[in-house]
């Protein structure tokens, strides 16, 4: 197979498929065992300094905030982050100093809320290094290759751009048509957290809304922590097996985490906490403000329950539930309402 061109970005998270088969055979249980534990225990067991990590959901939608908080509380550092439409999740880890390197599809910004002060500061002053560029489909299909247990997936993206030049992809000759085709290599993150609507104690998990990249990312992870709005009896999921997106044997830990996506949205449950995100954007303008945020909400709280109290408790969470369900108060609410 003729290689036409090679990107010179770092090859992050790649392993020979046989190595990963061996890993999955030796380290991933097939037992129906109760994997419920606290976020603190899950992070202590499954996330280490220097790991390649990825966060499920969509950056500030259906994110696994209890796991992100624990990574910060436990002082884990030198992570390489898969920047797969990362938003608040990445910004929190980068601001706290947990991340040294990023493979970037989308990072350092908060979609319509604007560029991320903390993330940009760290990448522009060199504290965080972008080791390769990618696109959303590049990372999605790097995870697909990993889920499939194959070394790469052929695609028709990246060709002719600097995004390709700074990626870990290669352009080869398609042995059938003779045309150039881009190969994106498998990526197996060491540790992944995914927040879901429902899971049973074994880890079988249901995502009620869009799956985003998670059906593939779950299969790519070498260790997977599932956090769930609700832990349900496995009999309930057996009544709807088609809706189980992630099977138990891909899951290492199950954490019960109601409101676990706060301050992000959890589709069908609660809306973005725009007040809180605004506070984040303001405080992270400076290093001092960033430390103040972390001390108030993360390192200064013992666990996620205490954090939820610090952000307004049941009253605030009920408001966010109402907004998600289109019961927006006449005045107030996100995007320029009176509350802002």
């Amino acid at each position: 197979m003729n290689v036409h061109a090679e990107g010179d970005g770092e090859l992050v998270g790649w392993e020979h498929p046989d190595e990963v088969r061996r890993w999955n055979r030796e380290n991933r249980t097939r037992a129906y065992e109760d994997k419920r534990m606290s976020a603190a225990e899950a992070v202590d067991r499954y996330v280490d300094d220097g790991d390649v990590v990825a966060s499920g959901g969509f950056g500030h939608v259906r994110i696994s905030t209890p796991v992100l908080h624990e990574i910060v509380r436990q002082g884990i550092e030198d992570l390489t982050l898969m920047g797969k439409t990362t938003v608040f999740d990445a910004d929190l880890l980068i601001a706290a100093g947990a991340v040294s390197r990023v493979e970037n599809a989308y990072c350092f910004a908060h979609e319509t809320r604007g560029l991320a002060p903390a993330g940009r500061r760290k990448v522009e002053n060199g504290e965080v290094e972008v080791v390769s560029e990618a696109s959303n489909a590049t990372l999605q299909w790097r995870f697909l290759a990993a889920k499939m247990g194959v070394p790469f997936v052929p695609t028709r993206i990246l060709n002719g751009t600097d995004t390709f030049e700074k990626s870990s992809a290669k352009v080869v000759e398609d042995p059938w048509s003779g045309d150039p085709v881009t190969l994106v290599p498998a990526c197996y993150p060491d540790a992944v957290c995914i927040h879901v609507d429902k899971a049973d104690k074994y880890g079988n998990a249901v995502i009620e809304g869009i799956g985003v990249e998670d059906p593939q990312l779950a299969g790519a992870a070498k260790r997977l922590i599932v956090t769930a709005e609700e832990i349900v009896d496995d009999e309930e999921l057996r009544d709807r097996p088609k809706d189980v997106e992630i099977p138990f044997f891909q899951v290492d830990a199950v954490v019960e985490a109601p409101y676990g996506s706060h301050p992000g949205e959890m589709p069908y449950h609660y809306y973005f906490d725009d007040d809180h995100l605004e506070e984040w954007m303001e405080l992270t303008e400076t290093e001092e403000g960033t430390q103040e945020y972390l001390e108030t909400y993360v390192t200064g709280t013992d666990d996620f329950e205490e954090y939820l109290e610090a952000v307004g408790g049941a009253e605030r969470l009920a408001e966010l539930e109402a907004i998600e369900n289109y019961e927006r108060p006449e005045s107030g609410g996100p995007e320029g309402g009176d509350r802002a």
Binding site: R62, E111, A134, G211, V212, E213
Partner: protein
């Protein structure tokens, strides 16, 4: 361009964003599929649905297809992108539909563009140690590679319309006719239009940018003054001003809370 211009027909005032939205909406044909992000392109697609293109389907790259939500999304992955939708899919699905030719239009933004419609949304300055770090490709490279045609909406000045991009994030026509196919990108794809605060551009047979529509009140000289590369100015027309009905739909039905103005 002043912040508020006055429509000739109805005497109705409109904002620059409202003009861009109505102009962009006319580019979307009925019975088509459109990948949009949040912001103006989303309003344009919704306006098209409520006027000439009732069977246009909006697709969001995180997985939402054909939503029917009473409120605008703020993220391309939030519940409003698949509320009462045709399908709550995932990114792998949407990228695959697009790679298989099912997506007609993709809307893109950028910090820089060159005459072939190649886009930069990654860095200003050096990649290793950038003066300004932008979010990167996100889905832009994928949409620019795989959608049947792309429509770019961006702010125009001589720093954004450049001879040479600081970083080529997303393919336009690369280096000219035939270059996309030669590089391995799908045949018969590429940028169709570029919309700025001054006008709407297309691409000529050399795949170079040319003026198609000039917005109301804009001098033709302004177009060249705000570009570092030469823009072909041949036969062009004036952009139609927003009609009273388009403005009513935007203000009362599509974005009554004025999230995007």
């Amino acid at each position: 361009m002043s912040d508020v211009a006055e429509g000739e027909d109805e005497g109705e005032e409109y904002t620059p964003t409202e003009l861009l939205t109505t102009v962009a909406s006319t580019l979307i044909e009925d019975e088509s599929t459109v990948i949009v992000g949040t912001g103006m392109p989303m309003l344009a697609a919704m306006l098209a649905q409520k006027t000439h293109a009732p069977d246009a389907t909006m697709i969001y790259e995180a997985g939402g297809i054909g939503p029917d939500a009473p409120e605008l999304p703020v993220s391309v992955g939030d519940e409003r992108t698949f509320h009462r939708g045709v399908k709550a899919a995932g990114m792998h699905d949407v990228m695959s539909y697009m790679q298989a030719g099912f997506v007609d239009y993709g809307f893109l933004g950028a910090a820089q563009i060159d005459k072939y419609g190649n886009l930069n949304s990654t860095v200003i300055g050096d990649w290793e140690r950038p003066a300004v770090r932008f979010p990167g490709s996100g889905g832009a490279n994928d949409i620019g590679s795989l959608a049947n045609s792309t429509i770019v909406a961006m702010r125009q000045d001589d720093q954004s319309f450049v001879d040479e991009l600081d970083f080529r994030t997303t393919p336009g026509y690369l280096d000219g006719p035939g270059a996309r196919e030669e590089a391995g990108l799908p045949a018969d794809t590429g940028p169709q239009n570029v919309i700025t605060q001054y006008g709407v551009y297309g691409f000529d047979e050399d795949c170079e940018m040319e003026l198609e529509l000039l917005h109301p009140g804009v001098d033709v000289e302004t177009v060249q003054e705000n570009s570092s590369f030469e823009i072909e100015v041949g036969d062009y027309e004036r952009s139609p001003e927003p009609t009273a009905e388009q403005l009513r739909l935007l203000r009362e039905e599509i974005d009554p809370r004025g999230v995007i103005r």
